[in-house]
């Protein structure tokens, strides 16, 4: 096993931990706003790390490009989704847990 493989393993495991932490947050946090924090930040970081780990294994630069594209798409989708859900919740009068 070479150094690239070791880096991939480290990145994937770290990414998995962030996905896990995101779900723990989802289960433990008290309201929709705080759960959004957990989901948006932790899961996107987890995906970023998983994608970085897989990019090291990609055979072509085009393959790396595709992975980065996927990451950017999910990033854009989930940040706007996060904002829209929070906005909709505020407008519906769901008050934040204090």
């Amino acid at each position: 096993m070479g150094i690239p493989d070791a880096i991939t393993i480290a990145l994937l495991l770290l990414g998995g931990l962030f996905f896990l932490a995101g779900t723990v947050g989802l289960l433990r946090f008290p309201d929709v706003y705080t759960r959004l924090h957990a989901l948006t930040k932790a899961d996107n970081l987890g995906l970023g790390l998983v994608i970085a780990g897989l990019a090291i294994q990609a055979e072509t630069w085009a393959g790396v490009g595709k992975l980065v594209l996927i990451w950017l798409l999910v990033l854009v989708a989930s940040t706007f989704a996060c904002h829209l859900v929070a906005r909709a919740a505020l407008r519906r009068g769901i008050s934040p847990w204090i």
Partner: protein
């Protein structure tokens, strides 16, 4: 390496299931909308891991389409069926 990819994919599917259980319990509709976001990120990661493990590049394109759809679905869902959108001016003129 394949074992790692598959193991991680299984772990992510478990977190997805746990998250879904939480989301189905609500209590507010906003909580249920988190499901789309959860799927968007976690399912994409699972698909990418499976693509790598199986050596089937086409699965990566499924992840790509999934990412695209997640974006579109989410925005459409929030705008159409959930908000009453009093007046939609906050961003101003682009």
């Amino acid at each position: 390496m394949n074992l790692l990819y598959l193991g991680l994919a299984v772990l992510l599917i478990l977190t997805l299931a746990a998250g879904l259980w939480r989301i189905l319990r609500g209590p507010t509709p906003a909580d249920r909308m988190l499901a789309a976001q959860l799927f968007g990120t976690t399912a994409v990661a699972v698909l990418l891991l499976l693509a790598e493990a199986s050596g089937q590049g086409a699965v990566r394109d499924v992840a790509l389409v999934f990412a695209l759809l997640a974006a579109v679905t989410m925005v459409a869902f929030v705008r159409r069926s959930w908000t009453q959108d009093p007046e939609d001016e906050p961003y101003g003129d682009p």
